[in-house]
């Protein structure tokens, strides 16, 4: 298979913006470890799906070869800027745009100076060490009207487009776990899960991942998504499942912790 590694990582930029906060720094460190594993798998490109790149019309793909700039998160601007320098595999992305209609999905390429690449993609690129010229990204948007099934198809489509060009890929789903957050300002040093029940749910789901029980994972995901307010219904997991043809042997959790009350994990899948 052309997929050489797969990862689930949080898209909240707090770990990169404030690594001095223990819980957030631990997640940043976990992502750096995952990045080493990703690099060791020697992909030619990285298929990235971030829950924070929202689309409502069509399926969008970044087709601009090189994008640089300074991004400021709309919520966490007080903690600083997110400079970025991201290379995309525009050939694979263009192939994805072309292939989408054959799968019943309208698609468009995004090749504009100043396009606001989302906080999640930027934060993750830095920590995982991806998005350089040696490991360019294939970035697909999160169309809010696409369900998990469509998301899986899009990931499989991207993988196949890369394979058709002889490229090995890593796959990265960028998004959170449980979604309850603190709605008032907290001392970051005291960050913890906003809901103990959601924390239990997260741990249960991570255990199922570690066991490689995909059938059980698929079975509990809908209930988990509702009960724990999971980020975008856990479509970022579907992105990974789609690229992996719904099969993995297990997973290693590099890190798990709170991000302003929500749940976040860094997971490397055994494929």
């Amino acid at each position: 298979m052309s997929v050489v590694s797969a990862f689930l990582v949080p898209g909240n930029p707090l770990p990169v913006l404030k690594p001095a906060v223990p819980a957030w720094g631990d997640l940043a460190q976990a992502m750096r470890k995952a990045g080493l594993a990703l690099a060791a798998s020697r992909p030619d490109a990285v298929l990235v799906y971030s829950t924070q790149w929202i689309a409502v019309l069509d399926q969008l793909w970044i087709t601009r070869r090189h994008t640089t700039g300074v991004h400021v998160d709309e919520n966490w601007y007080e903690f600083g800027d997110l400079p970025f320098d991201i290379h995309a595999d525009e050939k694979v992305a263009a192939a994805c745009v072309e292939a989408c209609p054959k799968n019943g999905v309208h698609a468009r390429g995004v090749d504009y100076d100043g396009f606001p690449i989302d906080s999640g993609t930027i934060a993750v690129s830095g920590l995982l060490g991806i998005g350089g010229a040696d490991r360019p990204l294939v970035i697909g948007s999160n169309n809010v009207y696409h369900n998990g099934e469509v998301t899986e198809k899009l990931a499989a489509l991207a993988r196949d487009c890369a394979a058709a060009q002889g490229k090995r890929v890593a796959v990265v789903g960028v998004g959170g776990l449980s979604g309850s957050v603190f709605r008032t300002e907290i001392d970051p040093a005291t960050d913890h899960f906003a809901s103990a029940e959601e924390d239990r749910w997260n741990r249960r789901v991570l255990k199922v991942m570690e066991e490689g029980d995909v059938e059980q994972l698929r079975k509990i995901t809908p209930e988990y998504a509702g009960a724990a307010r999971v980020d975008m219904g856990f479509k970022h997991l579907h992105w990974i499942l789609g690229a992996l043809d719904g099969a993995f042997r297990g997973a290693h959790v590099h890190g798990y912790g709170p991000l302003y009350g929500s749940g976040a994990a860094v997971v490397e899948f055994k494929i």
Binding site: I54, D58, E74, R108, V110, V181, R183, T184
Partner: protein
């Protein structure tokens, strides 16, 4: 310093298509026009605003969504290129705006006193959202009036509509208190679409108006019902219907700008001027004005708003 006042409130929706259709120098992509009835509606709104000569424009935008509190632009001058993440083919706009930081800080302070979490955005590299920019461009393309930009806290979505709009009501009352204390003559802009059902695919030529129409009959009928009530000044009924409208028409007023604006104005029972209505990718958009100079008198602003806030919380 004399006591400040709200001169008017505008319903001022923000489809970037309107900027694209107008072809201003600041916007990189160029069009063959399109959405003229809405753009002509904004021309009338611009003329009304010119005549009002406010000190400041306050805009509440659903495309600056925040989770911890209600945020205010707090940098005196912000500039840059705003590329719409959803419609990058239509909106790549070079903006430069001046912020009335003193009023923004007063709004934040009054909000805090009223029990809200508020924050000042002080990062000079912040990219102002396209909703704020589109509304401001369409209402005042000269960009010569200072602004206060206000985020849409996600409470109507994270909590529920009633609780969320209850917060917007408190925010509106706090905004009025700040305007009064700072002596500003202010115009409020609610950057909201009405019915928000939309098409999921874009035409090959976005400005091909042969493809433009309401996405749903139900959404259109809801819009007409609400607009007619607004034109008659039956705002009490509008707010009674608002939760149902939000559900059945997927109305963007859920994000809070409309409630914020009317709470600040004390829910005036005055007829709104409709400048025009039109659809954009199927959504319903109305440009309307509540001229508070027509509503002079001892309006029971705080008391009325508080009562409404209680009603919303039920």
């Amino acid at each position: 310093m004399s006591q400040g006042e709200i001169i008017a409130g505008f319903l001022a929706p923000h489809p970037p298509h309107l900027v694209y259709g107008e072809n201003p120098a600041q916007n990189e992509p160029k069009s063959q026009g399109g959405w003229e009835p809405l753009r002509w509606a904004y021309e009338r709104a611009r003329a009304a605003l010119e005549e009002m000569r406010p000190d400041v424009l306050l805009v509440h935008s659903p495309h600056w969504m925040t989770s911890v509190g209600h945020h205010f632009l707090g940098v005196e001058r912000l500039s840059g290129k705003s590329v719409d993440p959803i419609f990058p083919n239509l909106f790549r706009y070079d903006f430069s705006l001046n912020v009335d930081v003193e009023l923004a800080e007063a709004c934040a302070e009054e909000g805090r006193k009223a029990g809200l979490v508020t924050k000042m955005m002080r990062n000079p590299n912040f990219r102002v959202d396209y909703g704020t920019i589109t509304t401001l461009h369409m209402i005042r393309p000269q960009w010569d009036i200072p602004v206060v930009g206000i985020s849409a806290n996600n409470s109507p979505y994270y909590l529920n509509t009633e609780e969320g709009l209850g917060e917007m009501d408190v925010l509106g009352r706090a905004t009025l208190a700040a305007i009064r204390k700072t002596g500003r003559r202010a115009v409020l802009l609610a950057s909201n679409t009405l019915s928000h059902w939309h098409f999921h695919e874009e035409p090959a030529i976005p400005e091909d108006m042969s493809k433009e129409h309401p996405q749903s009959m139900a959404g259109y009928q809801w819009d007409m019902r609400m607009i007619e009530l607004m034109r008659k000044g039956h705002m009490k009924e509008v707010f009674e219907l608002l939760p149902k409208f939000i559900v059945e028409a997927f109305a963007e007023v859920k994000s809070g700008a409309f409630t914020w604006m009317h709470a600040a104005m004390g829910y005036p029972q005055v007829p709104a001027e409709l400048y025009g209505y039109g659809t954009v990718i199927g959504t319903g958009n109305a440009v309307m004005c509540w001229d508070m100079r027509n509503a002079r008198g001892p309006a029971p602003v705080h008391r009325g708003a508080a009562e409404r806030s209680s009603a919303l919380a039920v």
